[in-house]
Symmetry: C2
Subunit: 151 residues, 2 copies
């Protein structure tokens, strides 16, 4: 039996999540793609960078916007290993990201299919297409290992 | 009749909002205080800085965390001229801000008393004390003027 291969952007996001874990940060990675190519990346760095906003998605979105020289990323997609939180879902809206692909669901901190459900709010200015469960096994395993080692 | 004076941090946040307007950015300003003293400030700069996350609150929180050398601001308060959006409310949670004081309500984009109501979600990890309506007339006037000039 062959397992269906993960799309390249998610493979790369998972590598970034591993890098975060090695640096003692919660293992979440993200990339921004445009026309199928990775143009920016990020992983969690709130501890290292003394920045509570330094989630993988925020890092990748800020880098992409700076590279493209515009605050809106309407022709870009975001790939992230974990369901975005309220902060990151809000940033996705502000950046007008076209599609969000994420790995593991996050019942505790997620705000896409849980909690604040940011994209489902009637006032939400922009609703990206959302695809979940891509690489969720790999993403969840990284998180479980990380927290198990710290218990 | 004497109008009750605005607290200094909100006065300063309103000045920052004016600076944003002069730079062509939506006029919102924010400061972080610690033991009553302003330690960091920010105003909206998403256009200037090509950064969709560059809201006043995010700027002020990032600056405060960097100054204090820690990702958590548990002994800090945030003063902002407008009701925080989902992104900023999420950042306030991650930063563990103790108290949030805001000016005008934002039925369209706010996520404290409207929409995603981030702090009211059962999973919300940290709930700041929230005080609204401080300088709301001044804050709303700045916004109305800004958008009227652009119509």
């Amino acid at each position: 039996m062959n397992r269906w291969p993960l799309p390249e952007p998610m493979k790369h996001a998972l590598k970034l999540a591993q890098q975060a874990a090695l640096a003692g940060e919660v293992p979440v990675g993200a990339v921004v793609t445009r026309e199928g190519k990775i143009i920016a990346e990020g992983h969690n760095t709130p501890r290292q960078s003394c920045d509570p906003t330094a989630h993988a998605e925020i890092q990748a979105i800020r880098a992409a916007a700076l590279i493209l020289g515009q605050e809106r990323l309407s022709d870009c997609d975001l790939w992230v290993t974990l369901e975005p939180c309220a902060m990151c879902a809000g940033a996705i809206v502000h950046a007008r990201i076209a599609r969000v692909y994420y790995g593991a669901s996050d019942p505790k901190g997620g705000a896409v299919e849980h909690g604040a459900r940011v994209f489902e709010q009637p006032q939400c200015l922009h609703r990206p297409e959302v695809y979940s469960g891509i690489g969720e096994g790999e993403a969840a395993l990284l998180l479980r290992r990380f927290f198990a080692e710290r218990r």
